[in-house]
């Protein structure tokens, strides 16, 4: 008896294995690359956008919460962009444009904004969008019980009042240049659903994760934790029904998995594919890549609490000693642009009429000599008062380009007699080490993603040293003053002029060596139409996208 059972075991095992094999071969006929939109819909005129199709978007980040007043990560805000809309949005040059507002008037003193709302906008549940929703949304961060992290965007806002069903008035307590482009761009939440929820409980309400309702182009369908978030076209979207039927925001653990899945056709659209992999991705069939300058910059920051970097000449000398062109061309395969100021060339506020520190080893050496650094013991490393010019350059683990750059910096700085030792630290530990109140680093390589509205206050103003993001301890009273004044300027041209001076000072002082602006790459189906590149928004005007059959 037992005996027969055992041999059965083996036989059934072989059978199972062979079932697996045949079934697998049978499956090759199924070509996943055809999947986007290939659901046998009737042919339409080639002239206009064709309706239909499902797009699978890959992301290495997982979303957390779909409420713009509480979310702090990119994946969540990607999905919020599908579901919600704001009064104001921005175009490809980051100028503010009207979205759900029909008109916004600013008072003479710049302290009152009156917004007229578009009529006939519908929430996903059919209710009409009115001034109540706007008042409700903007009152949340002003409520003392509010416990999200977005309060600072509404700091200047004093009072928001409903004038009539389609008019809202915002009263500010002080002038704030960013109120119109930033605060008014926050997505609006539905008052008719959330009005009875106490503000203290709003951040943890089910609405945020299980049933978000917005006025945006896509309706929330479901969120499978760790797998995907699915949304479907909203028929009554006020800018017109999206052409795509559904979007599936698929979560993948890392970039390797993402690339394999793009190749296998399991993912159709992906942002954030690194430049080093882009040539590989371009060779996949049925895939195209759109590239452009990203709205960010990467820098080498100096801890100015450290005696080594207090002297501006030393910082300038190091910038002279760094061959940034070589970094862009060799480390990044030419996939970027050398930076001179902390603002993107894409922005309307960009101005590079500043002092530039070209690659010049001799000049670097003479600047260092002026600062009192010389190689007195002949070991190839500069010294001063018995101290060697030696420091560590930290960067975060996981960013291949930055990891390479710290090694290249070590080589390049050796040329001028500076020893720069690379150190790569895991992200969370890295942030704790470098930021307040530890400032435990000498120099670091890091990047900033820029806001659509240019404002350097949070990063370079001396008031932000003790606990803010000025963790390099840069201080220039003159620049401080200019940055404070700029906050009061509501006119875009005036603002740009003010910032031209600020950039001049920042470039002269070199609190960072501005290294480069990286390119960003977006992988998409070869038949995707209607896509427009926007450096800040991977899914710019996604309701216009369509798949050509």
């Amino acid at each position: 008896m037992k005996l027969r059972k055992a041999s059965w075991w083996l036989i059934s095992l072989t059978l199972i294995l062979s079932i697996f094999l045949t079934a697998c071969t049978g499956n090759t006929s199924e070509d996943p690359k055809e999947s986007p939109g290939d659901d046998g819909k009737k042919e339409e005129e080639a002239a206009g956008p064709q309706k239909g199709g499902d797009l699978i978007i890959g992301s290495t980040g997982a979303p957390t919460i779909f409420n713009p007043l509480y979310s702090t990560d990119t994946s969540s805000s990607d999905i919020e962009g599908f579901i919600y809309d704001g009064l104001v949005s921005s175009d490809t040059e980051f100028n503010p444009t009207l979205s759900m507002a029909e008109d916004i008037q600013t008072s003479e003193d710049g302290l009152t904004f009156t917004a007229k709302l578009k009529k006939g906008i519908k929430w996903h549940d059919g209710e009409e969008f009115t001034a109540d929703d706007v008042v409700f949304t903007f009152s949340i961060p002003k409520n003392p019980d509010y416990n999200g992290e977005r309060g600072s965007a509404f700091e200047a806002l004093e009072k928001v009042t409903k004038i009539d069903d389609y008019t809202v008035e915002f009263k500010l307590s002080k002038k704030d240049a960013s109120f119109y482009p930033v605060s008014l761009s926050y997505y609006i939440l539905p008052e008719h659903i959330l009005k009875d929820v106490p503000v203290a409980k709003l951040g943890e309400h089910e609405f945020n994760t299980k049933s978000p309702i917005g006025t945006g182009p896509f309706k929330f369908v479901e969120w499978k934790d760790g797998e995907y978030v699915k949304v479907e076209a909203f028929d009554d979207y006020f800018k017109g029904r999206p052409n795509l039927d559904t979007l599936t925001y698929k979560i993948v653990p890392d970039m390797d998995a993402m690339i394999a899945q793009i190749q296998a056709g399991d993912i159709h659209f992906a942002a954030g594919v690194p430049g080093t992999d882009i040539e590989t991705v371009k060779s996949f069939p049925g895939v195209k890549v759109e590239s452009g300058l990203g709205l960010s910059y990467t820098y080498l920051g100096y801890n100015q609490k450290n005696e080594l970097f207090k002297d501006v000449k030393v910082r300038q000398a190091i910038t002279h000693a760094i061959d940034r062109e070589a970094i862009v061309s060799s480390v990044m395969n030419g996939d970027g642009k050398v930076a001179h100021v902390p603002e993107s060339p894409l922005s309307w506020a960009y101005n590079d009429d500043v002092k530039k520190f070209e690659y010049d080893v001799e000049k670097a050496k003479s600047l260092l000599a002026e600062a009192g650094w010389k190689d007195s013991d002949g070991d190839g490393i500069l010294d001063k008062d018995g101290k060697k010019f030696s420091f560590t350059v930290k960067t975060n683990q996981g960013n291949k380009v930055r990891e390479d750059i710290v090694v290249v910096l070590q080589e390049q700085l050796k040329e001028v007699g500076i020893e720069a030792k690379p150190e790569i630290v895991e992200w969370s530990a890295f942030i704790e080490q470098i930021s307040a109140p530890n400032w435990n680093y000498d120099a670091l390589v890091l990047g900033w993603a820029l806001s659509t509205f240019p404002d350097q206050y949070d990063i370079f103003h001396s008031s932000q040293r003790e606990e803010g993001l000025n963790f390099v301890w840069y201080s220039n009273p003159e620049a401080d003053k200019l940055m404070e004044e700029a906050k009061q300027i509501l006119d875009q041209d005036e603002y740009k002029k003010a910032y031209a001076d600020i950039y001049k000072m920042l470039a002269e002082d070199q609190p960072y060596s501005f290294l480069y602006y990286p390119n960003v790459h977006r992988v998409m189906p070869a038949n995707l139409e209607g896509y427009v590149f926007n450096a800040r928004d991977d899914f710019y005007e996604i309701y216009k996208w369509w798949l050509k059959k």
Binding site: K2, L3, A6, S7, W9, L10, L13, A23, C24, T25, T28, E30, D31, P32, A62, T64, I65, T72, D73, N147, E149, R150, G151, S152, A153, V182, G203, H205, T209, K224, D225, G226, E227, Y228, T248, K250, V252, P253, D256, A257, A260, Q261, A264, D266, E426, W427, S428, A429, F430, I431, E432, Q433, S435, A436, W448, S451, D455, I459, E467, G468
Partner: protein, 316 residues
């Protein structure tokens, strides 16, 4: 037997407590905190500070531990710091079925393949078959599962398109059992591979030992068929050390699941573990630690019970 099981469970309690103390300490000693994800000029330092305060992250570590322990003993694992307000238990329960499915299937796969192959190579020692099983299992032991997983994805998913690259089911498709099985095959195989190889080796050497025993000769002398001798008299005794090894392998299944889930985008607790660790989502990390520790304790208990079943000499 029952009193033994109860005794073992009672003994597990201090062990689990010890595990929570050590894990909590290690987790807190790691530099960084969940607020490090809020590195954003649009978030003010005051907001960050309030975040830390609100979740009691500024309290001394022992206070934090006892707060956590107190709540946990009442069945409350807290809420995620990153996924605001979502109960940890809900996050884990969402993922648990996937991990259990993967573990159970790969465990069966490992046993189903390794024991017969181990027995076959023991009954025909130094034959060609034995050598090929030996070489294959050494290869299996020597290949780390992340490497095997990546290679299999490259070949079978990307190049040949036989299998999906990852996930539990095809997106935008109605539920189908075959689709689920199809997605399960590669990850289950990869997770099973290393242990499969080890188990084959253990079965082989243990069987070789048993076959030389007197009682096997006696059984043969009684005129039993060779298969009956091997499988009834031999295997039952030969499996005893294998069960010990198997019990010890259960933690490695959980550890392996972390890697395999990441490679195959398998939304189980392993993947959740990795993400939570990087985000410093302390309540989730602790919840997962407790649950995996319970798994390991139960796994070892089952191994001990199986002992008694397979070896009549053992009584509890």
């Amino acid at each position: 037997m029952l009193s033994y099981i109860i005794r073992r469970i009672l003994m597990a309690i201090p062990l689990l407590l010890g595990i929570t103390v050590v894990s909590f300490a290690i987790m807190k000693l790691a530099p960084g905190d969940p607020a490090s994800l809020l590195m954003d000029p649009t978030i003010s330092p005051a907001d960050k500070a309030r975040f830390m305060e609100r979740y009691g992250l500024n309290d001394p570590i022992h206070i934090q531990y006892f707060k956590w322990l107190g709540a946990m003993l009442q069945g409350d694992f807290g809420t995620s710091l990153i996924r605001k307000g979502v109960p940890v238990i809900e996050m884990i329960m969402n993922r648990m079925p996937n991990t259990i499915l993967l573990m159970v299937v790969s465990t069966f796969l490992a046993l189903l393949i390794s024991i017969p192959f181990g027995v076959i190579s023991a009954t025909r020692p130094y034959s060609k078959l034995d050598y090929s099983v030996t070489v294959t299992s050494f290869l299996g032991v020597a290949t780390p599962n992340f490497f095997l997983g990546l290679i299999m994805i490259m070949i079978f998913a990307v190049q040949l398109n036989w299998f999906p690259t990852g996930g539990v089911a095809t997106l935008n498709a109605p539920f189908s059992l075959w689709d689920r099985i199809h997605h399960l095959m590669m990850p289950a195989f990869v997770l099973a591979a290393a242990d499969m190889a080890g188990l084959t080796r253990y079965t082989r050497s243990s069987m070789l030992e048993v076959i030389k025993q007197d009682y096997i000769r006696t059984a043969r002398a009684k005129g039993f068929k060779e298969n009956k001798v091997i499988y009834k008299h031999g295997l039952r005794n030969g499996l005893i050390p294998v069960i010990t090894i198997f019990g010890l392998m259960i933690p490695s299944f959980i550890g392996g699941a972390v890697i395999v889930e990441k490679i195959f985008t398998w939304p189980g607790i392993g993947l959740l573990f990795v993400d939570s660790a990087f985000q410093r989502d302390y309540p989730v990390i602790m919840g997962l630690t407790v649950i995996s520790a319970v798994f390991v304790v139960i796994g070892n208990l089952i191994a001990d019970i199986l002992y008694a079943i397979f070896d009549p000499r053992i009584e509890y």
